[in-house]
């Protein structure tokens, strides 16, 4: 059941990205171009999404199980650290270069864009790189223990 509802949520998200214009990288860059011909549309996307999101998270407050009986798993991290800021800045530089965030990348992939597919491969490589880096200290720790 949770697979079907996740599929539905993914579809709705994809439609939202298409309808809003977030699936069009040149439009996204138009929003980030404050000094040029500025297209404020993206602010309306965020406003619409957060308006619904705030209600949903308010409804979810205090629940330990979802409507389908799944355990509610919300992030517990609170700390604002270097990792959060540096990671977000790197993401922002990348987003500002091509105008593609991960969600838009999946939409472009589904639309059959070759450039979108290349972007996604690079994105996966970036995530893989992060993961390798995370594993390295662990591997070193194992080596010292052995």
């Amino acid at each position: 059941m949770n697979v079907l509802t996740a599929l539905l949520a993914g579809l709705v998200l994809g439609f939202g990205l298409i309808v809003s214009g977030m699936g069009n990288p040149s439009k996204v860059l138009g929003f980030f171009d404050l000094a040029g011909a500025w297209d404020p549309s993206l602010a309306f996307v965020m406003a619409g999404a957060i308006a619904v999101g705030v209600v949903a998270f308010r409804l979810a407050r205090g629940r330990t199980r979802s409507l389908l009986g799944e355990a509610m798993q919300l992030p517990r991290a609170q700390d604002i650290d270097r990792r959060l800021v540096v990671g977000s800045a790197l993401f922002g530089f990348g987003w500002g270069i091509a105008g593609i965030c991960p969600g838009a990348g999946f939409v472009l992939l589904g639309a059959g864009s070759t450039q979108g597919a290349v972007f996604m491969l690079a994105m996966l490589a970036g995530m893989g790189l992060f993961q390798l880096q995370q594993m390295r200290p662990q591997a070193a720790a194992c080596a010292t223990n052995a």
Binding site: A9, L11, V12, L13, F15, G16, V19, S20, G21, N24, P25, L29, G30, F32, A35, G36, W38, S41, L42, F44, V45, M46, A47, G48, I50, V52, G53, A56, L59, A60, S66, L67, E70, A71, P75, A77, I80, V86, G87, S88, A89, L90, F91, G92, F93, I97, A98, G99, C101, P102, G103, F106, A111, G116, A122, M123, A125, M127, F130, Q131
Partner: protein, 144 residues
């Protein structure tokens, strides 16, 4: 400030935004999960335990299927990428690495995090939006 009235689409942007929010609401209220795309992809790369594999794949498959279904009933809006191959690959690497290091992207921090009034997500969102504004300023105006 110079507003690009020709490309400004407040109604469709708002409508699409409401759908994005609805998707986050569905994931939260039905599955008890945050609809954070980079986190979902990242944990697939870490080989999640059996039960957590299916819904993640299904969620991402839904996003990929959306343009296919959309094009059956209406003309799919153009997704124009004006970035050359080199910068496109650099962009993908930065987006992949950065979202994992910063634990989220526009959906996880931007939509879900701000909706749950998370201070951490507010800092993340201000940082990545700021960095994107700066990047476009540098690439389009300083070194154009």
């Amino acid at each position: 400030m110079n507003i690009d009235w020709i490309n400004f689409t407040p109604y469709s942007a708002l409508a699409g935004g409401l759908l994005v929010g609805l998707a986050a609401a569905l994931m939260l209220l039905l599955n008890g999960r945050i609809a954070g795309i980079s986190g979902i992809v990242g944990s697939l790369l870490q080989r999640p335990r059996g039960g957590d594999f299916g819904w993640r794949i299904a969620f991402l498959a839904g996003i990929v299927a959306a343009p296919l279904l959309y094009s059956l009933v209406a003309l799919l809006p153009e997704g124009r990428i004006e970035t050359g191959w080199g910068p496109l690959i650099l962009s993908g690497l930065l987006v992949g690495y950065g979202t994992r290091l910063g634990s989220g992207c526009s959906s996880g921090h931007g939509v879900c995090g701000l909706s749950r009034l998370s201070g951490r997500s507010l800092v993340a969102t201000l940082t990545f939006m700021g960095a994107a504004f700066l990047t476009v300023f540098v690439t389009r105006h300083l070194f154009a």
